[in-house]
């Protein structure tokens, strides 16, 4: 609770400084809006439902693109990690592709799929698939071999060995991969939405720019931060922490 108090004080101070700077009018308010201006924009955005719609549309894309990349990434990761040939060929390709910012897929996606939903999903998929795959592959490699041996020794084999031993043994790595995948998917999606079309949060951000409405731009930015943090910081971290505790990976 002490940490929480510290955070409250910190954010109050931050907003106070912001308010003070805005009050001093060093920069014109349309470039540097005061906190209450941004608050107002947030309120308006939710009141006219545009933010709700933006969140819903973005989250829907996120869920589809992310789920797709998790499923494909796990399959790919498993395949790559269980075969030396695939590891040396595809594995290397994946790592090199990972250095490509996902926004670079946008021109290709637009040419292939046009300005459609598919193009956005493609960019999200390419953004997170690789990191999920690589995390899965790493996880399989880092997983202590003793668990597999112990499982076989106790009579597990085939699918049951995978399901009751190998899968739970690599769960901490899988969750880590899912978390990374989420972060990449989130970034890719907002970027893709900013470049083209339709209703999402990225679009709202660009609309703010087009209208020279700095308050809306900052309001949407705050929204993106909060949403991103809620999933990454609350859901994934809690999951990871619980898992680490249960597996005894953190000192109690």
């Amino acid at each position: 609770m002490k940490k929480f108090a510290k955070q409250i004080i910190f954010y109050s101070a931050l907003i106070s400084v912001w308010a003070l700077l805005a009050k001093l009018r060093i920069w014109p308010p349309y470039l540097f809006p005061p906190p209450w201006g941004v608050g107002h924009a947030l309120w308006d955005g939710f009141a006219d439902h545009s933010f709700w719609i933006g969140i819903a549309v973005t989250m829907k894309r996120m869920l589809i693109g992310y789920s797709l990349s998790i499923v494909l990434g796990m399959i790919l990761g498993l395949a790559v990690s269980s075969n030396k040939f695939l590891e040396e060929t595809i594995g290397g390709l994946l790592v090199s592709l990972q250095s490509l910012p996902s926004i670079c897929w946008i021109p290709l996606a637009v040419l292939w799929f046009g300005l459609t939903e598919k193009a956005i999903l493609f960019v999200v998929l390419m953004g997170s698939l690789l990191s999920v795959t690589i995390a899965m592959e790493d996880g399989r490699k880092q997983m202590p071999k003793i668990y597999g041996m112990a499982g076989r020794n106790l009579g597990a084999s085939g699918f049951r060995l995978f399901w009751s031993v190998l899968l739970p043994a690599s769960l901490p790595f899988i969750v880590n991969g899912m978390k990374q995948g989420w972060a990449f998917a989130w970034r890719s999606l907002i970027q893709a939405e900013m470049i083209f079309l339709s209703l999402g949060l990225g679009q709202l951000l660009m609309m703010g720019r087009d209208l020279s409405d700095m308050s809306q731009v900052m309001a949407v930015m705050i929204l993106i931060i909060i949403l991103g943090y809620m999933v990454d910081g609350l859901i994934f971290r809690t999951m990871e922490r619980r898992l680490r505790e249960k597996y005894g990976l953190t000192p109690a």
Partner: protein, 310 residues
């Protein structure tokens, strides 16, 4: 197999150390302990529980040369016998257990259980790993239950056996704890219960007590001896600690250093229960150690030689 007849060793010899002989020897124990540790005479005609028939293993090192790890090992273990295998580090004694467990194929030779060759793992032989390999995602109870689940044993029976084996290792209270919440000695006991719960004929133990403090180890020796007496399992126990081997084993097989061969096979005819500090345990250990010393020196020389090259 036996090179000399049993009667060459009068039974009144208090320290029943019989070098180089694999004879059918009765435990020379006083009548008073007979209740706790019943006599287990082994008939001459009995098929060995585990027989290693000219087991060899070689492997390729990272530098590409072939290294002979085990060289034509022949060993027989009778049903209900407690065999300890000692040897210097690097003699392949852990590897030997992995071969018996079927987790690793040998290059040549056969592992026979009840006269039948084995390929691959089976729940008739359970290995307790040096690192234990307990599953951290399961509770203590879940770990003990695991092997039975894999054998498709019904829930009611599993339940009953989990309780039974946890009581046997004195861990009933910790059934719902996770592994990382337990001390080293408790983890050892979970591993023992998990192995016993699949009701294997043969228990393979790979330096299970090496990482424990002396007090915990002594306690676990007592418990293992008791559980062995209660369950009548055949145990093959690998250790580098000769004292421990003499404390526990009916027989102690000594392996040579690289390639691993059976150098000598000692029968330990000391009364049970035994203790590490007993003078006769110490004396027997001393005899075995003398024999082991050459091998330890060879192992050290090999290590130092590596150092010089570097």
């Amino acid at each position: 197999m036996s090179t000399s007849p049993q009667n060459a060793y009068p039974s009144r010899v208090p320290v029943g150390l019989r070098t180089g002989v694999r004879a059918n020897v009765f435990h020379g124990k006083p009548a008073s302990s007979a209740a706790t540790f019943p006599e287990r005479p082994v008939a001459e005609a009995v098929v060995p529980k585990v027989a290693l028939d000219a087991i060899s293993l070689d492997y390729r090192t990272t530098s590409g040369e072939r290294l002979l790890a085990l060289d034509k090992i022949n060993l027989e273990v009778k049903p209900g016998e407690f065999l300890c295998i000692v040897g210097p580090s690097g003699c392949g004694k852990s590897t030997l257990l992995h071969l018996i467990a079927g987790l690793h194929p040998q290059t040549s030779g056969k592992v026979l259980v009840d006269g039948t060759p084995v390929n691959g793992p089976g729940t008739d032989r359970i290995l307790i790993f040096q690192e234990l390999g307990l599953f951290p995602w399961l509770t203590v109870g879940g770990n003990v239950e695991f092997g039975m689940k894999m054998k498709n044993i019904g829930k009611a029976e599993r339940e009953q056996k989990v309780q039974y084996y946890l009581r046997l290792v004195h861990l009933s209270k910790f059934r719902d704890s996770y592994i990382h919440q337990l001390s080293g000695g408790m983890r050892q006991r979970v591993a023992l219960a998990r192995a016993l719960a699949t009701e294997p004929d043969v228990l393979l133990m790979d330096e299970p007590f090496a990482a424990l403090d002396a007090q915990t180890r002594d306690l676990l020796h007592d418990e293992l001896e008791r559980i062995w007496a209660e369950t009548g399992r055949t145990i093959i126990f690998v250790t580098h600690n000769v004292r421990e081997a003499v404390r526990l084993g009916d027989r102690v097989a000594l392996l040579t250093f690289r390639p691993g061969r059976v150098k000598q096979d000692f029968s330990v005819n000391l009364p049970r229960p035994r203790h590490m500090e007993q003078p006769d345990v110490a004396r027997t250990s001393g005899d075995i150690l003398n024999c082991l010393r050459d091998e330890i020196n060879k192992s050290l020389e090999a290590e130092y030689a590596d150092e010089k090259v570097r």
